[in-house]
């Protein structure tokens, strides 16, 4: 079974008398160790889909299996636990805790997981090592560059070894040099065996993924397998034409 399996997922908001279909019948499977990019214009439903995959929201109807567990209708308490252990969030705004230093930021999810103090220290240091910021441990976010802040955020996302890393426009707030660094880091994490789901509207960024899912009006309109980032095949279209 796939790591992520979404079946007939709908998310419907009622705006007055009108019903808005933010997700309009999504079927999607993502396997372990895949690197998937979800692209689409704003309002296409990619953020809603990301919230669903990240267990921040529950669908109006449909099923969502994450790591062989039906998570489409769980109470808040269970969802919090799943977010903690199965998902690593990487945000456009970094979303670090401003009052905490890099170490404390990365350690935070482990506290929610009730990991012992000694193990927390080991895991946090290992994560810092992975993103190459061991020498910035005690710096607060405002003492770090944008690229460094995003590295801290990535370290926080992967510290508990979740099966899924969910990145929402991770380079949206960065200059091109830092963007490259972050994308290289994400590619490295992918080669190291992490499953990565990337939400973006930048085609250059999406091109790095193995598989590109194009969304529009709450539906998946096309899906492309990207071979070696070079030749784009899928449903008979070239990626450049999307």
């Amino acid at each position: 079974m796939a790591l992520i399996e979404i079946k007939d997922m709908y998310k419907i908001y009622e705006m007055g008398s009108e019903k808005v279909h933010a997700l309009d019948g999504i079927n999607l499977e993502i396997d372990e160790r895949e690197f998937v990019a979800i692209v689409g214009p704003s309002g296409s439903g990619k953020s809603t889909l990301m919230n669903m995959i990240g267990c921040l929201d529950v669908p109006t109807s449909g099923k969502y299996y994450l790591d062989n567990e039906d998570v489409s209708a769980l109470p808040d308490r269970r969802l919090a636990k799943i977010r903690n252990s199965k998902i690593g969030f990487i945000f456009q705004q970094f979303n670090l805790f401003q009052k905490m230093n890099a170490y404390e930021n990365i350690e935070r999810p482990l506290k929610y997981a009730r990991v012992s103090r000694q193990r927390r220290a080991d895991m946090t240091k290992a994560a810092l090592e992975k993103v190459g910021l061991s020498d910035r441990m005690y710096h607060k976010p405002n003492e770090l560059s944008g690229g460094q802040q995003q590295r801290v955020a990535i370290a926080r996302a992967l510290v508990a070894n979740p099966p899924v890393l969910l990145a929402d426009e991770p380079t949206g707030n960065l200059d091109s040099k830092s963007s490259n660094e972050i994308m290289n880091l994400i590619k490295d994490l992918h080669s190291a065996g992490n499953t990565i789901i990337l939400i973006t509207h930048e085609h250059d960024i999406a091109k790095e993924a193995d598989r590109i899912i194009n969304m529009s009006d709450g539906r998946i309109v096309s899906e492309i397998r990207n071979v070696k980032g070079d030749i784009v095949v899928g449903k008979g279209k070239k990626y450049e034409n999307l």
């Binding site: 308490r77 636990k81 979303n95 009052k99 929610y112």
Partner: protein, 388 residues
């Protein structure tokens, strides 16, 4: 999150916003300080009064006759002495007069007409001279026993035996001077003038006996003696509330209920400031939840449950109110000593009051912190993450 980690996390948040925390705390500090010190002052003055009343002798009984048809004579009072358990009896009649020595005068002085037993019943000690005797009574002599304040104010000396004193314009001769006694709950004995009962009936133009003081043989049998007196008195009045026989302990009881009410009132008024302090906590916590909306969203995204968020904010409120409470109690310990020195009584803060104050301040933290905490815990993570 573990409770310990939640607590540390809350402690750090309080420390991060320390200026705000201290200002919020101030409300609780003032409230707890006011409640603790006022209750302590009330309790201490109550204890002081109780000690004074007990010092007057616990075997005294007082008969008050309200029924006008009850005709009690001096002979009846004599007879009461032979009741089981009764050692002494004295009628008493009281009026307020101006007393004079020449041109020096004192207004509103309590003048009491009593018989010789009264000295033993009240435990009065004489500085010089003698107390009223049976002969003074039977001969209706115009003699008086005075308190020290009277002597000093009217004569400028304590050597007053044989001096003349005018009571309501009638000349009396001073035969005795009371020892300095300080004040008790009813009269200032240093300002007291006592004259023979029969003489007083004349001067006050009142032959009715409405008050009789008695003393029991010992403190243990006061209650039994009281019953005997009640039984004896029933022959004079069968009316409900026609008379009452009180012991010191019943006086004490009603008095301490009065002071307890006073203490509760003081505490209640001070409690209002505590309430205001609590509202301050709620106010600041609501602002804090608002400010940290995005932070709460992040916490939820990385795995915080509702309970984690609730505990975090509740702990913050309780830490502020708890520390405020401790400081308030600490200040009350010093402050009540200061108040005591002004009021000239020893004020002690009882440990029970301290514990109560601490529990109360923690309860305020929970009571006023719960609403903001619940509000924080119920934030939708998606909306919270989008919050600017």
């Amino acid at each position: 999150m573990r409770i310990y980690d939640s607590f540390i996390s809350a402690l750090k948040a309080v420390w991060t916003h320390r200026m705000r925390s201290i200002l919020t705390m101030l409300g609780i500090i003032i409230g707890i300080f006011a409640v603790t010190s006022l209750i302590s002052v009330g309790q201490s003055s109550n204890a002081a009064i109780t000690a004074q009343i007990e010092g007057l002798g616990t075997n005294m009984l007082t008969v008050s006759i309200r029924d006008y048809r009850a005709k009690l004579t001096l002979k009846d009072v004599e007879e009461m002495k032979s009741l089981d358990g009764i050692a002494a009896a004295s009628p008493a009649i009281t009026s307020i007069y101006t007393v004079k020595n020449g041109n020096t005068s004192m207004d509103s002085i309590t003048v009491q007409g009593v018989s010789p037993d009264y000295q033993a019943i009240r435990g009065y000690k004489l500085d010089s001279g003698r107390f009223i005797s049976d002969k003074d009574n039977s001969s209706r002599l115009k003699v008086a026993v005075v308190g020290q304040n009277i002597a000093v104010t009217l004569y400028g000396t304590l050597d007053v035996i044989g001096q003349k004193i005018a009571i309501n314009g009638i000349q009396f001769q001073i035969i005795g001077l009371l020892e300095q006694q300080g004040s008790n709950e009813t009269t200032n004995q240093d300002d007291l003038v006592m004259i023979p009962f029969v003489t007083a009936q004349r001067v006050m133009q009142n032959t009715r006996i409405s008050t009789v003081y008695l003393s029991a043989v010992s403190a243990d049998i006061v209650t039994a003696a009281q019953e005997n007196v009640v039984k004896y008195m029933q022959r004079f009045s069968t009316q409900d509330n026609g008379f009452s026989v009180n012991t010191q302990s019943s006086v004490l009881k009603s008095l301490s209920s009065v002071t307890a009410t006073q203490t509760a009132m003081l505490g209640g008024i001070a409690g209002i400031s505590l309430l205001v302090g609590g509202i301050g906590i709620m106010n600041i916590m609501l602002v804090s939840v608002m400010e940290r909306t995005r932070e709460i969203g992040i916490e939820k995204a990385i795995g915080a449950t509702r309970k984690d968020i609730l505990l975090q904010f509740l702990f913050e409120a309780v830490i502020v109110s708890g520390i405020g409470g401790l400081i308030g109690i600490f200040l009350a310990l010093f402050g009540s000593g200061f108040v005591g020195s002004i009021m000239n009584t020893a004020v002690t803060v009882q440990s029970g009051v301290m514990i109560l104050a601490l529990v109360f301040s923690l309860a305020i933290g929970i009571g006023f912190g719960i609403y903001p905490a619940v509000k924080a815990s119920k934030l939708n993570p998606i909306e919270a993450l989008r919050y600017e």
